[in-house]
């Protein structure tokens, strides 16, 4: 049914890119706060966790104000690159990435902190550069927890609605994601369409959960810890 295919594919595209962005930023910040002690570290942690607890509409509003034509960042983008993120799927990606980021960040930080520091010291004693330690020791031992966070982030990005609606609006075919399509179908009293979309959305969530369960389980079977 093509009324469902378009918002579905759009949602998957937006959620995919958002998870990727959240992954890069989340692993980066997670590593920084897990390994480096600096003044104000826990304050930064609270700030980075904020998008998770903030109402999505509040976050969406802040993003709209910042990224809009008259916003600090939006005006800069418009002037220098001719880019406007509002009403674009890229804007939807940004909004979804913001709400998904804390999920990856928290999981990554916990995963990194969980690693026995002696292992990294062992790497140093063997002559490893810090980069080699990160890619050969730290990341392989942390990727499980990070992946779990990424799965949650993907599910969250897929279902993201409030912030996305504010920033990207509802443009059929371009920013009308699955969640927004459901909302509009209900608003228009099109219950049949709404039901159909909801079933599709639920099926995807279940698939994500099952796949992530399999992946994580398979990893644990690899006798990871002493």
């Amino acid at each position: 049914m093509s009324p469902t295919a378009v918002p579905l594919l759009l949602s998957l595209k937006v959620a995919g890119w958002a998870t990727l962005l959240a992954l890069i930023a989340g692993v980066g910040f997670g590593y920084l706060l897990a390994r480096v002690r600096f003044f104000g570290r826990e304050v930064l942690d609270a700030v980075l966790t904020l998008p998770m607890v903030m109402p999505p509409t509040v976050l969406g509003y802040y993003l709209l104000v910042l990224l809009g034509k008259r916003g600090v960042i939006g005006a800069w983008l418009q002037e220098n690159f001719g880019i406007n993120l509002i009403f674009t799927w890229q804007g939807a990606v940004i909004a979804a990435a913001f709400v998904a980021f804390p999920l990856v960040y928290k999981a990554a930080r916990a995963a990194f902190e969980d690693i026995d520091s002696n292992l990294e010291k062992a790497g140093r004693s063997l002559g490893f550069s810090e980069l080699k330690i990160f890619f050969r020791i730290t990341l392989p031992l942390a990727w499980h927890g990070i992946l779990a966070g990424a799965m949650l982030a993907f599910a969250r990005a897929l279902g993201e609605f409030g912030a996305t609606l504010m920033v990207a609006g509802s443009l059929p075919g371009r920013t009308q994601t699955l969640s927004i399509a459901i909302y509009e179908a209900v608003q228009a009293g099109e219950d049949n369409v709404a039901n159909h979309l909801v079933i599709v959305a639920s099926a995807i969530c279940i698939v994500v959960l099952v796949v992530s369960g399999r992946v994580l389980q398979g990893g644990y079977r690899r006798a990871f810890r002493y």
Binding site: D116, N118, L119, K121, A122, R124, S125, L126, G127, F128, S129, R136, I137, P140, L141, R222, A223, F224, R225, Y226
Partner: protein, 251 residues
Amino acid sequence: MQLELSIVKDLQARGRQFRLDVDVRTDSDAVVIYGPSGAGKTLTLQCLAGFVAPDAGRISLDGSTLFEAAQRINVPARERGFGYVFQDYALFPHLTVAGNIGVSLQKGWLRRLDDAARARVEDMLRLFELQELRDSYPSQLSGGQRQRAALARALATRPRLLLLDEPFAALDPALRDRMRHEFVELRERFKLPMVLITHDPADLEMLARELVVIDHGRVTRHDHAPFKADVPQGATALRVIPGGAAGARAA
């Protein structure tokens, strides 16, 4: 080897202050650091290895300075060329035994092992009798096997000094005795200087040519071999038999 280790390190743990203030100068090849738990032995070894930077002082080996607070010299651990065996072995859980031994020899992003490196891994596996366990993971090994793997890994890089933190502590007494003998053989074979931390008086007798006792963050005794293994548990006082060059230094 000629080792100079004069460092000060202040730590705060659980609201209590701890000050490590040790001064060790030795040219012995087999130094044993002995002392009760919490004395600062591991901290000393970690400073020597370069894992922890002291607050003040100087560390030098065979004339080259590894650490000098006043001149802001701090050679990173990866460049010091020391092997380190941790108390819990710290084997990489996601690599096999062969992987653990070989990982330090891999070059480049594709993790290549050239022929020389491959040969060395084989040597290590053979020397430590780990050939049949080469594809096993650390979690599948017994305590003794892990210890051998940890040693093999440390020696694969041909270090110039071996640091060991209570290497036999986790083994049962019979195994411990056997390992001690093998260890002496190993030391002879590789002609490797070492600094070893232990709780166990028996280790002292077999392995040490020089003894440093650390208690409450300070060196309380610095003696030369031979030693009689007549030491009450955890005590800092030792009875030294006559004939040994006693160079006791009170802190």
